[in-house]
Symmetry: D2
C-alpha cells in the first residue's frame, strides 16, 4: 500500500498513520518530499480495507499495490491454466488451442426437446450441452425449471451424443445432487457473490463456470474466483455475459474488452455468453464472432430446436440453421487468433 | 400488452402475431391506422416475456401495459402499507408518521462492543439495533462475522436497551435459527435475486428488509418483493443503498430519487442506507438528511463506539458524537415532510 | 506521482522509468522494498498523462498524487468562494448564508409568458429569473428558442420584478451579444467540454454557471472549471443536474452526493437542478428538498405559469402553486443546515 | 404514439388526453378494453415530447411508435448508404465491400512526424490518414494542437502517400478554413451534441465522421446525424468509440454491439475507434479484431512512429510493427463477414 499524505500534514498525523499501518502488520518506508510525505507499506496479509487508512486525518490518497486476490492472479501461474472438463478419456480442455463451444436451450423442457438440441449442437461441433434445470427467473410467476428430472434428461441426451454437461447450480444445498449429473457447474450472474455457494464449490472436485454479475467489476469477478480457489478448487472458467449500462437497446452491454483484460490479470480461461449479453437473437452471431476475434477461450450459446415455442428466453435463442451458419463463420475467424474450431 | 407492427407489415405477419397472442391467453383489439397496425392484447396472466413477441416477423415495438408485479404495486393497496416490527406491545411501525432509525455497527464484534453501541443509538432515539453476524465479504480473507454467537450478543444488547433487532440472513438454510434472535430479517444487496432465499422468506411470519442490488432497477427490486409476497409474507420494507455508476469518487451513487419513485409505484415503505450508499463517513450525514427530506420512512446507519478500530467498514461508520449531531439535524428536517423523529 | 514497479521488474526497467520521469521534469525518490520498487515523483508541472508511464515495461501501477486541477481545488482557497452576481448595489451572493433560488420557464416563449413567470418566482423569493433563448434540443425539428428577442424579454421581465438573469450561452460567437442581457452565463451539460466556449468565458468579466455533463465525473467538472479559471475568470458556480445510469424510470439520476463531494474537493459553490435531474414534475420537489438538505448553495428550478402548454419541457416544470408549496418546505429545511431562505 | 390509460381512468380524463392529442395534430384511434383504454395516435409531425402526455391525469404509459428521426432511419434507404470520401477519381467508399482503415497519430506534431506516420499506414493498406490539429483536451495545460499549420502538414503528408485526410473540427467558425485541407470532417465525442456545429456541417458539401458521445444512447447518435441531414448533407459515417460504464479498468467500454444495432436501425455506415474505446495500447488489437468480426465498415486507429515520445495519447497508440501485425490478422477475419481488406 502507498499512502500519500496531504500537503501540510502535521508530523503527529504522519506518525498516527505509521502507527496504524504497523498495527496492521506492515513494514513502512517513509519518503519525505518537498510538498508531500509518501509512505510505502509492505508485507502485511492480503486482506485489509484501504478505506481504514483513507479516513485518517492528514491522508490525501491511498493506493493498493498488490491486487486483493492472489490465487486468481496471472502472477500465480504465468503460463495460464487449462481447465479439464469431463471424465478421464473424454476430457475437454478449456484454455487450450481449441475454442470450446457450449450450446443448447435455455431450459430443459422435455427429454425430446433436449435430445433434439443435443443432436443439433453436437453435429455442429459443440463439446458441451447446456440446459437449465433450476432457473433463476426475475418473476415468481415464470417457469422455474424441471429440477432434478431436467438434469436426468440433460445427462441422457448428452451421453447419447458424446457431449459433456454444463448446468447452473443455484444453492449450496443442491451441490451433492448435481454432481451426479453435471460435468461443469455453472454459477449464474446473480449468484456471483453468493458466498455460501462459492465456499461450497471450493470443496468440490469438479470444474466451475463462474459468470460475471451485471454490475460486477473485473476485479470483483476475480475475487469471487478467489473464494472458490481459497477452498482448494482451482478448476475455474470465467464467463463474460454483459454488464448493465445506460444503453437500453440491448438488454446488457457485452463487455468484449473484459476478455483481453482478464487474460492479462489472471491465468484462468474466459469464455463469453453472447445470448445473455445481448438478449436478442439477431445480435448473437455478430457478438459471438467478436468474442472469438478478441481471444475468448469458448462460447456459451443458446440454441433451441424451435425458438418460437421455447418456455424461456426464446427471443435470444438461435434456430439450428442460424447456429450452423455461425459455426462456419467462427471457423474462419479462429485461425486469425491462432485457435482452432472443429 | 400493445404490439405495434412495422410499416408495411403483411397481413399474414399480423395474423401470426395475433395467433401467438391468443395462444398466450390474450384477448386482442386490432386497430388499423394509415401506416401502422396496432394490436391491444389484454386479459392474460401476469407472466410473459415481451421479447417473445418482439422477435416475430413484422413487429416494430412491444409495450407492456401492466407492471410485471401486482402484489407489490401501489394499486394493490392504494392507502400504503405500515409494516409492524417486533412482538406485540413493543411494536414499531415503519411507514407511519415516525421516521424510524436503525443504527449500530457493521459487524457484531463482541458483547461489550454491541452493548456500548446499543446504549449510544438508543439514547439518540433509534428504534432498531443493527449488526451483522454473517457478513458477505468480497474477499475470502476478510472477517466473516461471529455467526450465531453474534446474534446472541445482539439480542441481549437490544433487549437491555429496549431496541428491536435487524440483521442479515445470507442463506435460506439459516432462517429457522435466525428467527430466534431477529425481529426484522435483512436481505443484502448481493442476495436481492437469490430466489431460494426469497422463497424461504415468503413462508416466514416476520417482516423482511429487502435491499436494492447495486445493479438492480427499481422494477427488479419490486419483482424481488413480489417473490416474497407471492409466498404469503406481505411485511416488507424496501431499502435504497446505492447503485453502481461511472462516478468512482463515492463507492456507490445513492439514488435518492428512488424514494419518491417507489412511493408512487408501490405501497411498501422504503428506507435508505447512506452508510453503504456512500462508503465514506463524512458523506453519511448529508445523504441521511437528503433521504429524510425526500420522504424516506427510515434510515439504516452504521454507528460504532470506536470506528477506527472496527473489524469491518469502519471507514463508513459514524462515531457517537457524529450520530448525535445528525439526529439533531434530522429532527429539524422531519416536520418539513410531515414526519416526526423522537 | 507514485510509480509502483511489478514484482521482479529488472533494474534496466526501473532505470528506464526513472529516466522518463526525469525527462518530464520530476524529482525522484526511490524506495526499494522486498517485493516492489516504488518511485515517488514530485515537482513537475501539473499537466502530464499518467498513462505515458503506465505503458512502460515493468510498471505495475501509477497514482497521481496531486489533482489534475489547481485553481479549482479547495487548497487554492480553503475558506471557500462567494460568487457575486449582478450589478453593484443589486448583487446576489452565491455560496453565502442564503440558499439562492433561480427559477423560471425552460424557454422564453413570449414577453407575456416570461413576465408572468417573473412575477410568480419573485413573489416566492427567487433571486434570479431563468429562461432559455437558445435551446440545445436533441431533435432538429424541435423549438430552438427565440434568440436575442427572447433575451430582451427576459431582461425586461427580470428588471421589472427586481430579479437578475441567468440564461444559457451555446456558442463562443454569441458571448459579446449575451453580455448585454445576462447576469449569470450558463454553460449547459452538453457543452461542459466545449473548450472553445470555456476559453471564451475565461476572458469575460461576468460569473458563469457551469453544469455537469451527464457522463462527466466530478473531476472532469472541476477540470472544465479550471479551463475558465486558467483564462482569468474565477467567478464560477457549479451545478449538478443528473448523471446517466442504468435506471431508466427517471430521465437521469440526480447525484446528490456530488454536493458534499464538491464541497470537499473545491472552493466553488454548487447548486442543483432537480428539474433536469429527474425530468418529471412530481419528482422535482422531493429532490429539491434533498439537495438543500445535503448542503446545496442554491437551486435552479423550472416554473411555468401554465406547464401544460409550455413549448418545451412542460413535463418537468412546476405550476405556480407547486413552487409556492415547495418554497415553504425549503424554508423549514434550510435552518437544519445553517442556511436561510427568504 | 400509443397512450395507455390507467385502470379506472375517468371519461373526462380520457377526453382531455384526446383533446390534447388532436391539438398536437394527431388522428386518434380509441380502443376500450376491460381494464384499460388504449389510444392510438397517428399522423402528426415527427417532433413532439411524449412526456407532455405522460404527465396528464389518468395516463399510465406512453409509447412512441415511430423513431424520433427519419432521414437517419433504415426505412429511409433500406439498401444502405455508401459514403464517398475524397475528390473524383481518388474516391474511397465507406460502407461498401472493403473495410476502410483510417490511421495515424493522435496529434500532428511536426511535418516529419506526420510524414513518417503516413508512410507507415499507407504501406499497411490504410486509405485515410488521421491526425488532430485542434485537440479537445480535458486539461487546459495540455498540448492543444498545431492548428492550421498542422492541417497543412497533414495534407502534404497524405498527398505524398496517396492517402485522404480525416481530422476533427471543433467549432463551426473553423469550418470554411478546414474544408481546404480535410476530406472527412470528424465531429468528436464531446461535440456530438454541439448543435451549432452540426447545423454548420449540414450545409457543407463534404462527408462527416460523427462520433458517439461517451454517454449517448444509439438513438441520440442517430438524432445528431439527423441534425446534419436535416440541413442537406447526407454523407455521414458514424463511429463507436466507447461509452462510460462502472468498469474502470478500461478508460471506456467499447460497445461492440452498437455496430449490429446501428446496422439495423440506420442506413448509415459505422466504424469503430478501438484506440479511444480502450485507452490502452495492448487492448487495441483485440478490440479492432472484434469490431471487424461484428461487421464494422472501417476502423480509426492511432498509430505513431514512436509512441513513447508522442505529445498526446501515446499510451493508446500502436507502434508501426504492432499495426502491421494487426492488419495481417484483420485480413484473415474480413472474409468471415464477406468483406475485403487490402
Amino acid at each position: 500500500m502507498v499512502v500519500v499524505m496531504q500537503e501540510g500534514a502535521s508530523e503527529p498525523q504522519v506518525q498516527a498513520v505509521i502507527d496504524r499501518l504497523v498495527g496492521m502488520g506492515f513494514d513502512i518506508h517513509r519518503s519525505t518530499g518537498v510538498r508531500h510525505t509518501v509512505l510505502g507499506a509492505v508485507g502485511a496479509k492480503i486482506d485489509f480495507d484501504v478505506r481504514d487508512i483513507e479516513v485518517l486525518k492528514g491522508v490525501a490518497e491511498v493506493l493498493r499495490i498488490s491486487a486483493p486476490y492472489k490465487l486468481a492472479s496471472r502472477a500465480f501461474r504465468p503460463q495460464g491454466t487449462i481447465v479439464k472438463v469431463g471424465p478421464p478419456g473424454r476430457e475437454v480442455e478449456i484454455g487450450g488451442q481449441e475454442v470450446i463451444m457450449m450450446a443448447g436451450p435455455c431450459s430443459v423442457e422435455s427429454l425430446d426437446q433436449i435430445q433434439r438440441s443435443a443432436e443439433i449442437v453436437a453435429s455442429c461441433g459443440a463439446r458441451l450441452l447446456r440446459g437449465g434445470a433450476f432457473k433463476p427467473r426475475t418473476s415468481p410467476y415464470s417457469f422455474q425449471g424441471l429440477g432434478e428430472e431436467g438434469l436426468r434428461y440433460l445427462r441422457e441426451a448428452a451421453d447419447r451424443c458424446g457431449l459433456l454437461v454444463v448446468s447452473e447450480v443455484m444453492d449450496s444445498g443442491d451441490l451433492a445432487m448435481m454432481l451426479r449429473y453435471v460435468d461443469l457447474l455453472q454459477v449464474g450472474a446473480r449468484n456471483m457473490q453468493n458466498y455460501n455457494l462459492l465456499r461450497g464449490l471450493g470443496k468440490v472436485d469438479k470444474p466451475v463456470l463462474l459468470k460475471r454479475g451485471t454490475a460486477a467489476t473485473i476485479e470483483e469477478l476475480l475475487l469471487s474466483a478467489e473464494y472458490i480457489m481459497a477452498g482448494g478448487n482451482y478448476q475455474i472458467v470465467l464467463c463474460e455475459r454483459g454488464i448493465r449500462t445506460f444503453e437500453s437497446y440491448t438488454r446488457n452491454t457485452l463487455d468484449i474488452s473484459a476478455i483481453p483484460v482478464v487474460k492479462k490479470l489472471s491465468h484462468l480461461p474466459i469464455i463469453a455468453d453472447p445470448s445473455h449479453g445481448t438478449g436478442r437473437r439477431d445480435k448473437v452471431a455478430p457478438m459471438a464472432r467478436a468474442a472469438v476475434a478478441a481471444g475468448a477461450d469458448g462460447l456459451l450459446i443458446e440454441v433451441h430446436p424451435s425458438p418460437d415455442t421455447a418456455l424461456s428466453d426464446g427471443a435470444q435463442s438461435l434456430a439450428p440453421d442460424q447456429f450452423t451458419a455461425l459455426m462456419k463463420e467462427l471457423r474462419m475467424i479462429a485461425p486469425a487468433v491462432g485457435r482452432t474450431l472443429p
